[in-house]
Amino acid sequence: MDNREARFILSAYRPGGQDAADPQFYEALAQARRDPLLERWFNDSVAFDRTVTEKLSAVEVPAGLRESILAGGKVSRPSPWTKPFVRWAIAAALVLAAIAGSLVLREAAKPRLAAWQTNALSQVSALVEGESKFDAQSHNAGSLVAWLHANRASAAQKLPQNLERLESLGCKTFFWQGQPVSVICFQRTDGGLIHLVMTNASAPFNQAGKSETKFVRQGNWATATWRDGTTVYMLALEGPPDQLRSYLL
């Protein structure tokens, strides 16, 4: 084995020493022990690899990513219909629901947010709590819309009129199952915040197919969702729904 061959093989040698007992490396390691130049190259290579590993291990993950993944997993897991115990348990639950009657029906009829909207609120919360940062900041919402267009992100052609009057704070873009989503945050005149989430009106966002506005309350969030042309909007604030309606006029 010559040094070139030895280097080729030793390039795959992991800096943590896990490969010391791998026969694939025996001959190359022996060559390195015999040849001081090769040994020096090998030691330098291992040191470089160790440093790169350390540097990459310091890369931080975006805030809210874990929560987004868990939320997505919750809505994605297949239903365990095949397990007999579960079928029995579900049947029993249905019987109880039928006995309870009106309460169950009322609960099922409550509108709920889609997974992408829950994810968007999670992203907004991370921004509000300072766990993540805006991609662009400006007090002029028009500039943020222009920035989103320039960066090929989902954006309104025109903002709702009552939002244009507010001072914007910044915008952020992210993806949900491959679909681009954008959010612009605004400062309300009462000091609170209000957020406009935008995405393209294509599958799997078919819930927003109608143009009428759908109001949903989730936790502390009041949301309003509608579609206008090819863009789906969700306006959200932490507070009562009535406060939200005033921005939709």
């Binding site: 390039s11 992991r14 791998d22 694939q24 874990r66 987004s68 997505g72 199952q177």
Partner: protein, 182 residues
Amino acid sequence: MSAIDFQQLVDQHYVPLFRFGLTLAKSEAEAADLTQQTFFLWALKGHQLRDRTKAKSWLFTTLYREFLNRRRHEVRFPHVELEELSEDDMSISPNMNEVDSAAVVEALRDLEEPFRAVLALFYLEQFSYQEMADALEIPIGTVMSRLSRGKAQLRQRLVSKEEAAARKIIPIAEEKGTSSHG
């Protein structure tokens, strides 16, 4: 898989998966989406994996495939020529004390995709050559070749960035304005 099992799997692997995605993708947002999509697919199909010890490999393979699927319609997979290594390639040494994490990620992203994937798995997760071959579905010899060439290119990129920072490169637009006559 129960919610608790899913959460444990996420907690165990989402950070390294994101970092792997970051070396492949064009942006942090895309890397996050690749990571989410991978766990989304696990939630749908992971129960089909009989050997749970292979979950890590499954996740990395899936993320890589998702990345390739997205790129399929964008860029043809570049043909990588296995050039002879020169002594110079192997001896370039960037000053790693002057290099931060962001510079390393950027240097990795500058490399051609085949090199990025093997280097990311090697450095992030300490994958063995066999594990990389399995995850990326390529022969062991190809893994070793890409590691060898990729590391040399990574060193060159890091040195270039060091040198560029030291020279304080003037943007081209400004240079045109100061070009000499005649």
